[in-house]
Symmetry: C2
Subunit: 104 residues, 2 copies
Amino acid sequence: MKDLLELRSDILKALAQPTRIKILDFLRDGERCVCEIFPAIGEEQSNTSRHLNMMMDAGVLSRRKEGLKIYYTIKHPEILQVVDLVNLIVEEEITGRHKLLKAV
Amino acid sequence: MKDLLELRSDILKALAQPTRIKILDFLRDGERCVCEIFPAIGEEQSNTSRHLNMMMDAGVLSRRKEGLKIYYTIKHPEILQVVDLVNLIVEEEITGRHKLLKAV
DNA sequence: GGAATATATGAGTCTATAAGCATATAGTCA
DNA sequence: TGACTATATGCTTATAGACTCATATATTCC
């Protein structure tokens, strides 16, 4: 049985990888099937599938089956809030560094 | 030069590890030196030092020197917001699973 | 049932990460 | 200067992660 610390790090791990961030960015607009996702992000089908399943296990995505296709969605709205906050931090880091460079 | 995608995943990576989450939980109340942090979280001094430096590089922590001691702080308030959101998601996941279990 | 399509998985490789132990570096104070 | 304390780093080992290629498992439609 996983403890809270593990559950927390599993969710963060599921967000902490470039390919998975590309997937999340693409899923912003709503649910998409694997066949739409992997060409959009420019990764192999098998690799994309693994990342999607990994994010499912962590509780970050949910999926819905429709015929042959499987549609993935971002499960919790808080996931997108996290992504947005991280984008904000990155901006602050970049402008922060810039200031330092100008100051020297 | 790192691109935005890397900067974003670096920040998330810096949060996505149990030992580092313990450090962040401990730094909630304000700045602490390494000598306070590693006994509090129950990790080795060298291991703790590495994690702290890793989080510094990612832009998650900042540090201040005072004599022999080095005090670390959480650099951006958004970091704590991210941690809180993740805690919320974990709660939702747990109660969500519970509901499902009860429903079966 | 057989062809075609969508998704998942097995096996292998390569790289990254975490941790421990020992040691180096740097600052303080007598 | 030398002893002492706080922090960082070199080296090693163990484990996990990401990726690719090939193949398996559905599901649909003829």
